[in-house]
Symmetry: C2
Subunit: 706 residues, 2 copies
C-alpha cells in the first residue's frame, strides 16, 4: 500500500483542527468552523480555544497538543505574531498539514519574509506541509470539506459537487470565481487559494488534479510560476490525460507585473515566453478571471463541437445578425443549411424563414403550433444537419423564454452537439436562466464570450494528437566541439555563422579580408556580385552606420568599398577595424529573422518572422519553445501575415518550405543543445528565394556557464 | 409659430388611437393599451374595436373614423391582410402618424414589398407619417408615453425618465437593451424601434435627438443606412452639439451582411467605409448591443476622465493585477501616486500598502477604523491626486460591499472624476449593485468593458475641437480641364500621373518612348539611372509579368531592356505593346500606397499605407473620408505600424512629413473634386526618402457620368 500524497491527506483529511476557533462568525476561526459544520464534514472536527471549552456547540480543546488524537489538517486563524508558537504546537502535536490564512508574511516585506522562512523551517523539520500563508483556504466538494472563507459559500446552503478544479494564487479571485460558478449552478471538484506558496504551490495541486478522477477540467489563476519546468511538464501530463487546463495569468503587462509583485511576491517573468510555452502544451489562456469560470463551466456542461460551422439562431433578427458578425470575427464560420435540412424543416416554417441565422421571431404564429414543441422540432431538425458543428442561441426578451431554455438543452442532448445559450435578456430572462442553472448548464451573457469559448474548444480538440514539441535530439558533435571553445560575449557574424554551419544551417559563403587585396581575391573566388561587410567587435548593427555594401559588381568596386568601410568606422568612438567580410550576394523574395533566446523561466525559446532589419516594426513574428516540432513550426510560419511571400505571391517563385522549416528547426535544436550559455542568437536576414535559403547575417551572445 | 415636426407630434401626441385594442394582454392591441394606461399617458386614448364598446375599462370606438376627434398617432395592431383598409381608414380620419407593428412586408419578399409600397402611397397622399412596419413601437419617457411592446416595460412598474435616446432597427434588440438598462436603473429619454423604415428612418429620430434637450447621449443600433449623406451630416451636428453618438452596426462581416439583408431588408454596404465615415464624425462604434447600453449608461452617469492615467483599486490584489493588465491593454495608463498623495494617505494605511493598484484587502484591520469611513477617506484622498484621470474599482466578494458601492459613488462626486465600478462578485454583490441601481449609476460586470468605456470616452473628449474633415475646396481648374477629356475605363500610368500633376501631386519625371532610340534619348534627358516600364492598355499590374526594370544605368542597357520589355508582353494573350515609359529612378526608405475610391454610400474615401506592392499583405493602412483634414491625415499616418520608417528609424533620413501629408491631402481633394466618376485611383508606390517624395507609379479607373 502506498502512503497517501500530502495533497490527498489535505483534501481528504480524517480530522481538522481549528486553532482560533470562535463563536464569532465575523472571525476566521468562527466562519471556517461554521462552514465545516454547515457542509457536514464527515471527519473529526477539533475546535481549539484556550478560553472556552465549547465552541459552536462542539467540545473545544485548550491547545492543539491537548487533542490527543491524530490531526491531519490544522487551520491556523491566529494573528501573525503568534504564528511561530502555533507552528511549534502543531509540530509537537504531529499535525500533518497546516492551512495558514494569516497575512503579513513574505508579501509585506523583508520582516514578513523572515518570519515566513522561520515557519517553513519549523514545518519542514516536523514533516508538516503548508498551504499559504496569506490565503483564503480551500474546499473539496466530494469530501464535504470546506475550509474556504468565501461569501458564496456562506450565502448558499449547498456545496455543489463538480468536476472543475480551481487552483488560484488569489483568494479573493477564487471567491469571485466561486460566486460566478454558483450563479451558473456549477460546482468545483476542489478549489484552493494558495497565497504566498511558502511550501505547497500551484504545481502540487495541479498534479493532484490531473490524476483526480473527479476532476475533468482544470482552471488556474496564476501570478508567477515557481517551478516553470515542472509546470510545463504537468501541462503535458494534463494534455496526455485529456484534461484541458484553462488559465489566467496576471502580470502580462508592465503594470500587471508591478501589481503581482506586491500582491503575492511573485515574479511574473516574461509573459510572451510564458504564453508560448503553455500554449504549446495546449493550455487555454483566458484574460479575465470571470471569463475563466464561464469557459470552464461551458467545457464541463457542453460536448465538444463537431466542426467549425456554427448555427446561429435567435428570437431576434438583430441578435442573429450581431452574433453572425461575432462568429466571423472569432475566426469561426457561420453555418448554412443543407438542402436536405431545408426540406426537413419545410413543414415547420415558411421557406422565407428557413435559412441561418434563424430569426425565430419572424416565423408567423400560424406555423408555430404549441410554441415549445415547435421550437424543439425546429432546433433539433436544424442541428441534425451534418454540416453544423455547434449552435449559438441568442435569447433576447421574447415569449416563452423558459421553453426556449429547455429546448436548447434538449436539442444539445439529442444531437450530441453543443448549443451555447446566450442570455441577452438580462434579468427578464431570469426564469429561463434558472432552468439552466438547475441543470448546471452554462449560459453566457456576452455573445463574444460564447464565440471565444467555441473557438478555444475547437482549437483544443484540433490540437489533440498533433506533436507540438520534441524530445531532445542527440547532441550534434560538431556543435559541441565549437561550443567548448567559444569566448564569452558578443559573437561576431563570422563566428556565429561557423556555429550555424556546424549545426547544418546554411549560411552565405564568405571570407574574411584584412586588406583590399585580400578582399579582391576573396570576391573573385566567391564570384560577383558580392556583399562586403565591416568587421568590428564594437559594432553589432553594421547596417546602421553604412557598414554593409550590397551588390558589389567588380574588383575595382571591391577595393573602393574596402576603403569606404574603413572610413565608415571612423566616427564610432573606440571601435577597431578588423577588416571586412566578403560574401556571396544572396537574392531574396522574402527576408526573415530566425532567432533564439534563453528565457530565465522557460528555457530556450525560438522566434522567427518576416522583416529582416524591419522586424520590430513589422511585428509579424512567432514565438515557440525551441523544442518545437517541424509541424508546429510549419503551422506557426503559415500563421504569419507575410507568409504569402513564400507561396508565390504576385509572381514570386514559391519557397522550398520544407527547407525553410528545417533551417528554423535546426536553430531551435541548436538552442536546446547549447542551453543557457547561448543567451541569444539571431540569423537576420535569412534570404529566401525559391529553394535558395541561406543565412546572410548573424550574431549571438555566449554566456559563462552558470 | 412653427408647426411641430412629425417626430415631435409622434413623441408628444395629444391623442393615441389603438386599432385592434383588446382585453387580451397576449395580443399587441392588449399589451400596448395596458402599457399606455400603466405609465399614465396624460393624453387621450382611443381604443378601436368593432366588436366591443369597452376595452380595458375604456370606452372603445367601432372604427378610427368614428372617433370624431383629432388623432395624432394610431397604433395599428391588425393583421397584414387588413393593413390597406386600416391605412385608408386612418387617412379618412385625419390621423397624423401611424405606428405599424405588423410584419410580413418588405422583409418577407416581393409580395410584402408591394404591399408596403401601397401603404406608403396611401399615407403619403394623406400626409400621414409611418413608423414601421415590422417594428415593436416606441416610448417617450418624458411624455409618459409608452407604445413599445417590451418585456422589461411589462415587468417593471416605472417608466424611467432618462437622458439616453435609443434608436434601433431591431425591436427585439431594443427590448434586450431596455432590459439591461432597467437592471442598471437607467432610463431613456425616448426609444424607438424602426423595423423596415418604410417612411420615417433612423435619421429622422437622430435629428430629433440632437435638438431634444432631454437627450444627452444618443445610441443607435443600425443594420443599413438609408441616407448616408444625411446620416453623416447629422453625426456632425451631434458632435457640434456635444452629444456623443454610440452605435452598433450589424453586417460588419459577410455573414452579418447576409443576416441583415433578410432581417430588415437592409443593404449593409461596405463596413470599412461606414466605420471610417462615422469615426471621423466622432461616433463611438461598439460591437455588441448590450455593451452599447453599458457604455451609454456609463456616459450619462459618470463625468469625463480628466486624463489617461487610471487608478486601479480592489479588495483583491489579484483583481488589481488583472485590471492593471487590462488597463494597459486598452491603451490607457495605470496611475501611480504622487509623493504628496502618499504623504496624505500616510495616516490611513501603512506605507507598504500605499501604492497603486490599491489592494484594500491587504491593509491590516488595525488601520481601517470604521470601514466605510476609512474607505471613503482613502479613495477620495487617492482620487484627488492631480495625476489621476479616472478610477476603476474591482469589487470582488469582500466585506461591506454596500459600503464600497456608496464610497465609490461619493468619491466620484467629491473629486469630480469618474470612478468606474466593476462588480466581479456576481450575485454576492447584489445588495451593492442595488445601491448603484437606485442611483442610476453604471456598474460593469467585465473589467474589459470598463476599460474600453474609458478609452472610448477619452478618445471622444480628446477629439472635441480637432478639425477632422474639411469643407470642399474650390475646384482646381487644371484638374477640371483634364477630367473633361478623359476616356472611360482603366487609365494608364501616364494619364493618371498627368492628372496627379494637374492636382499638384509630385510624380516622377518621365517620357513615353515608342522605340529603343526614343528610349535612349529620353533616358539621357532624364539622367541615369532610370526606370523603364512596359506600356500596354491590357496590363495593369506590370511588375507581375516583369514589365518594370529598375536601375537602368546606361544607354546600352536602355536599348537592351526595351527589347526585353517587348518580349515580356509576348505571353499575354491579346496585349498590344504601346512602347515604354522611361522615368527618373526615385530612391525610397519607405514605399507607400495612396489611393482613393468612391463608396456607393459614403462617397469619396481616401486610403493610404505602407507596403508598395505588398500592401495587401502588410495590412498597415488607414481609411478616411477623402475630405479628411491635414491634421486628421497626419494623425492616421502616425498610427500606422511602419510609421517609424518616416521618422529616422535605424539611421534613415527623416521624411518631410508635411510634404507627404500634403500629397495625401491633395489625393483626397482630387477625389472630392472629381466625384463619382473617379471610381478609384492609386499612387503606388509613393517613394519617400527625406524630402524627396514622389509618385513612381499610378493607375485609375474613370467611369461614365451617372
Amino acid at each position: 500500500m502506498t502512503t497517501p500524497s500530502p495533497i490527498d491527506t489535505i483534501l481528504n483529511p480524517g480530522s481538522v483542527a481549528i486553532l482560533g476557533a470562535s463563536d464569532d462568525l465575523a472571525k476566521w476561526g468562527g466562519s471556517m468552523l461554521a462552514l465545516l459544520k454547515k457542509f457536514e464534514f464527515p471527519g473529526k472536527i477539533f475546535p481549539v480555544n484556550p478560553r472556552s471549552p465549547v465552541v459552536q456547540s462542539l467540545p473545544a480543546f485548550p491547545s492543539v497538543t491537548a487533542i490527543g488524537q491524530p490531526v491531519d489538517v490544522a487551520l491556523l486563524a491566529v494573528p501573525h505574531e503568534r504564528a511561530i508558537e502555533a507552528f511549534e504546537d502543531c509540530a509537537r502535536a504531529g499535525v500533518k498539514a497546516i492551512l495558514m490564512v494569516t497575512s503579513q508574511f513574505a508579501e509585506s516585506g523583508e520582516a514578513g519574509q523572515k518570519l515566513q522562512d522561520t515557519l517553513v523551517d519549523i514545518a519542514r523539520r516536523a514533516g508538516i506541509r503548508i498551504i499559504g500563508p496569506n490565503c483564503m483556504g480551500y474546499f473539496h466538494s466530494h469530501a464535504n470539506l470546506c475550509l474556504l472563507n468565501a461569501q458564496a459559500l456562506m450565502r448558499n446552503p449547498v456545496l455543489h459537487k463538480g468536476s472543475i478544479a480551481l487552483i488560484s494564487q488569489s483568494g479573493a479571485l477564487a471567491g469571485a470565481m466561486l460566486a460566478r460558478a454558483y450563479d451558473l449552478g456549477a460546482g468545483f471538484s476542489f478549489c484552493v487559494s494558495l497565497g504566498n506558496q511558502a511550501d505547497l504551490e500551484v504545481c502540487d495541486f495541479l498534479e493532484y488534479a490531473i490524476s483526480d478522477p473527479q476532476t475533468r477540467v482544470i482552471s488556474l489563476y496564476i501570478e508567477g510560476v515557481k517551478s516553470p519546468q515542472r509546470f510545463i511538464g504537468l501541462l503535458r501530463q494534463a494534455r496526455a490525460a485529456g484534461k484541458p487546463v484553462l488559465l489566467v495569468k496576471a502580470g502580462r503587462t508592465d503594470s500587471g507585473k508591478r501589481a503581482v509583485q506586491s500582491h503575492t511576491a511573485s515574479m511574473a517573468g516574461a509573459y510572451q515566453a510564458f504564453e508560448a510555452a503553455v500554449r504549446y502544451e495546449s493550455a487555454v489562456v483566458v484574460d479575465d478571471f470571470l471569463e475563466l469560470v464561464m469557459q470552464a463551466v461551458a467545457w464541463t456542461s457542453l460536448p465538444p463541437p463537431t466542426g467549425r460551422s456554427i448555427a446561429v439562431f435567435s428570437g431576434s433578427g438583430g441578435g442573429g445578425a450581431v452574433a453572425s458578425d461575432l462568429v466571423d470575427e472569432a475566426g469561426l464560420e457561420t453555418a448554412t443549411l443543407s438542402p436536405g435540412t431545408v426540406q426537413a424543416l419545410a413543414p415547420l416554417m415558411p421557406e422565407s424563414c428557413a435559412h441561418l441565422p434563424f430569426d425565430l421571431g419572424a416565423v408567423p404564429a400560424s406555423h408555430r403550433g404549441t410554441n415549445a414543441q415547435w421550437l424543439q422540432e425546429v432546433i433539433v431538425g436544424m442541428m441534425a444537419d451534418p454540416g453544423i458543428g455547434a449552435g449559438i442561441f441568442v435569447m433576447t426578451t421574447q415569449p416563452d423564454m423558459v421553453g426556449a431554455a429547455r429546448t436548447v438543452m434538449a436539442a444539445s442532448q439529442l444531437c450530441g452537439k453543443p448549443v451555447v445559450f446566450v442570455n441577452a435578456a438580462s434579468s427578464c430572462g431570469s426564469e429561463a436562466t434558472d432552468v439552466l442553472r438547475a441543470a448546471g448548464m452554462v449560459r453566457f451573457e456576452s455573445i463574444r464570450e460564447a464565440t471565444r469559448y467555441l473557438a478555444n474548444r475547437l482549437a483544443f480538440e484540433q490540437r489533440a494528437g498533433v506533436p507540438l514539441l520534441e524530445a531532445p535530439a542527440p547532441a550534434v558533435p560538431a556543435v559541441a566541439a565549437m561550443a567548448s571553445g567559444l569566448p564569452v560575449g558578443l559573437m561576431s557574424e563570422y563566428q556565429t555563422k561557423q556555429l550555424f554551419a556546424a549545426a547544418g544551417i546554411p549560411v552565405t559563403a564568405g571570407q574574411v579580408a584584412r586588406s583590399a587585396d585580400e578582399a579582391a581575391s576573396a570576391a573573385r573566388a566567391i564570384g560577383f556580385p558580392v556583399v562586403m561587410k565591416l568587421m568590428s567587435a564594437q559594432v553589432s548593427h553594421k547596417s546602421d552606420i553604412g557598414g554593409v555594401v550590397l551588390n558589389v559588381r567588380d574588383e575595382a568596386a571591391v577595393r573602393q568599398n574596402f576603403g569606404a568601410l574603413q572610413a565608415a568606422l571612423a566616427p564610432v568612438p573606440g571601435a577597431t577595424f578588423d577588416g571586412c567580410l566578403v560574401q556571396q550576394m544572396a537574392q531574396a523574395d522574402a527576408e526573415l529573422l530566425v532567432g533564439t533566446h534563453w528565457d530565465a523561466q522557460f528555457g530556450p525559446m525560438l522566434m522567427f518572422g518576416f522583416g529582416g532589419t524591419l522586424v520590430e516594426l513589422q511585428r509579424d513574428t512567432a514565438l515557440l519553445p525551441a523544442s518545437a516540432s517541424r509541424p508546429a513550426i510549419a503551422e506557426a510560419l503559415a500563421g504569419l501575415r507575410l507568409y504569402p511571400l513564400l507561396t508565390g505571391f504576385r509572381g514570386r517563385e514559391p519557397a522550398d518550405l520544407e527547407r525553410l522549416v528545417d533551417l528554423i528547426h535546426r536553430m531551435g535544436q541548436l538552442a536546446v543543445q547549447l542551453g543557457e550559455q547561448l543567451a541569444e542568437c539571431e540569423a537576420n536576414p535569412v534570404m529566401v528565394r525559391g529553394n535558395s535559403i541561406v543565412v546572410a547575417d548573424a550574431r549571438a551572445v555566449w554566456k559563462e556557464k552558470a
